[in-house]
């Protein structure tokens, strides 16, 4: 049996071996509530402080205190959207998002409509790049604007610095979901002009169940969960010390390895794109150059994405799809519709996100498996 090839790192990343080694340093008997003053508690406090420093360093944040730890990117996005909008609603009740934000940004924003907020979705072009002119939708009443650093389905990197200038000219706050970009491309919240930034621990090579939110000092946010005063009151509940410490180390390693690893993955990505787009009626989705180094995404005419995923799996390869049939809602991907694809086109997508386990030698097998899958499914299709 040939070895499996895993190409869905955007969905779940294996823990980086260096992170796993670091995590094992915590003795089995390790316990300690960081809210206490005995030695065990102080050690836990220290571990969290170190993690804050490491995460802050990855994104160019000057103050480690500007990082709060959460249970993951979904929670960070919820605090960033709801917490910022509700806390600042005296300034206005409008929220602006790009049309292709992750569902964990879209849904809290939609939910705010019930509290009288006006939600505007800014369109993107056929590559998924935000329409900067349409960002005129940001008005002095817009309390929070959210544009992700890069998209998880099509890999396109957004012009965040330009977005930040426009938002700040109008006196607004900019939240950036950097779940897919962090650790893959350099991010600097100071240079980029970012007020709030979402990070996922797993997407940096750390464990699941931990994430972070950067909040620029001075930006006022109210909690979504209420309880004790942990994480400046924004994320009450006893801290996930182990998860946080491991995420910190993941951030450090991701930053350290980024130049080399992103160059390596970009080379694999480009070969994959070249090989797969040679298949008849196969097209790259997303931006051809302004895209994440580990991200290759495609669509194939006249076939459906879940079938692609199943057939590729039988050939030993794990890929993602934006197909409606794999989503819990059974709706076509809002991202693929927003870049102008018709429904039947939006159903036939395949997404490959690369990671440490991938290498250039796997490319021919991936391309061949894709070719075989496409051929097999096209032989059945009535379209």
């Amino acid at each position: 049996m040939e070895q499996r090839i895993y190409l869905d790192h955007a969905a779940a990343m294996p823990v980086h071996p260096g992170v796993a080694r670091f995590c094992r340093q915590f003795p089995e008997g390790f316990a300690g509530n960081p809210s206490t003053l005995y030695q065990e508690g102080l050690e836990a406090q220290e571990a969290i402080f170190r993690a804050r420093e490491k995460v802050a360093a990855l994104i160019g944040a000057n103050a480690p205190d500007s990082i709060i730890f959460t249970s993951g990117a979904t929670e960070s996005n919820n605090i960033a959207i709801r917490g910022t909008a509700l806390r600042n609603q005296r300034a206005g009740k409008a929220v602006v998002l790009s049309a292709i934000e992750h569902i964990s940004v879209l849904n809290p924003a939609k939910d705010l409509q019930k509290s009288g907020f006006v939600l505007t979705l800014v369109p993107v072009d056929r590559y998924g790049t935000i329409d900067l002119d349409a960002l005129g939708a940001v008005t002095p009443e817009t309390v929070v604007t959210s544009v992700h650093y890069a998209n998880n389905e099509i890999g396109t990197i957004e012009p965040i610095r330009e977005v930040a200038e426009i938002v700040h000219d109008r006196g607004g706050l900019l939240h950036v979901d950097a779940t897919d970009a962090a650790g893959r491309i350099p991010i600097d919240v100071e240079r980029d002009g970012i007020d709030l930034l979402t990070l996922s621990g797993n997407q940096l090579g750390g464990p699941d169940g931990v994430g972070a939110l950067y909040i620029r000092p001075g930006v006022r946010v109210q909690p979504v969960l209420v309880g004790g005063g942990q994480e400046r009151g924004l994320r009450p509940g006893t801290e996930n010390v182990f998860g946080i410490a491991c995420m910190g180390e993941a951030a450090r390693l991701a930053g350290e390895e980024m130049p080399e690893e992103s160059r390596r993955l970009r080379a694999i990505r480009d070969r994959l794109i070249a090989g797969i787009t040679e298949i008849e009626e196969a097209y790259l989705t997303g931006h051809p150059t302004e895209r994440l180094p580990h991200h290759a995404s495609f669509r194939f005419s006249r076939i459906e994405g879940e079938s692609i995923q199943l057939a590729m799996n039988m050939l030993g390869i794990a890929v993602a799809t934006g197909s409606a049939c794999t989503s819990r809602t059974l709706e076509a991907s809002h991202v693929l519709l927003a870049i102008g694809l018709a429904h039947d086109e939006a159903h036939g997508s395949m997404i490959a996100t690369l990671g440490r386990g991938n290498n250039v030698d796997q490319v021919p097998r991936i391309v061949e498996a894709t070719r075989e899958t496409v051929k097999r499914l096209r032989a059945i299709t009535p379209l």
Binding site: R302, S307, L310, C325, A379, L383
Partner: protein, 129 residues
């Protein structure tokens, strides 16, 4: 019963090696169901002799269960009388496939509908003649 993880073995067999794929030229009956918005389109062609489905073929655009149910329904209908074939339900198809995930029961389980539509097409043509 524990919740089923993924598709049954039977679904995967029919998905990987679907039976009765293709087109019948000048079919006696033709049925097409589904639409591109929901992501499943199925067409079924039948050849009828002495009220019995003598040959049957299908083509499907859709997910794993859409393809597997199409394949299964063509197996089930072949050799049956039209009245018997009209009695094949979506649930019968799912049962023969050893079950479908709950959210697939509705959207991707249209194969019986496509079969019925092909039989109705045949019958309406017969009336005209």
């Amino acid at each position: 019963m524990a919740e089923q993880v993924g598709y049954s073995q039977k679904v995967m067999e029919h998905f990987m090696n679907p039976h009765n794929v293709g087109v019948i030229e000048n079919p006696d009956g033709y049925g097409k169901v589904g639409n591109p918005v929901c992501g499943d389109i199925m067409e079924i062609f039948i050849k009828v002799k002495d009220d019995v489905i003598e040959d049957i073929k299908f083509r499907t655009f859709g997910c794993g269960s859409a393809i597997a149910t199409s394949s299964m329904v063509t197996d089930m209908a072949r050799g049956k009388t039209l009245d018997e074939a009209m009695k094949i339900t979506r649930d019968d198809v799912a049962t023969e496939l050893e079950g479908l995930p709950p959210r697939k029961m509705h959207c991707s389980n249209l194969a019986a509908d496509a079969l019925h539509s092909a039989i109705e097409d045949y019958r309406s043509k017969q009336k005209k003649e």
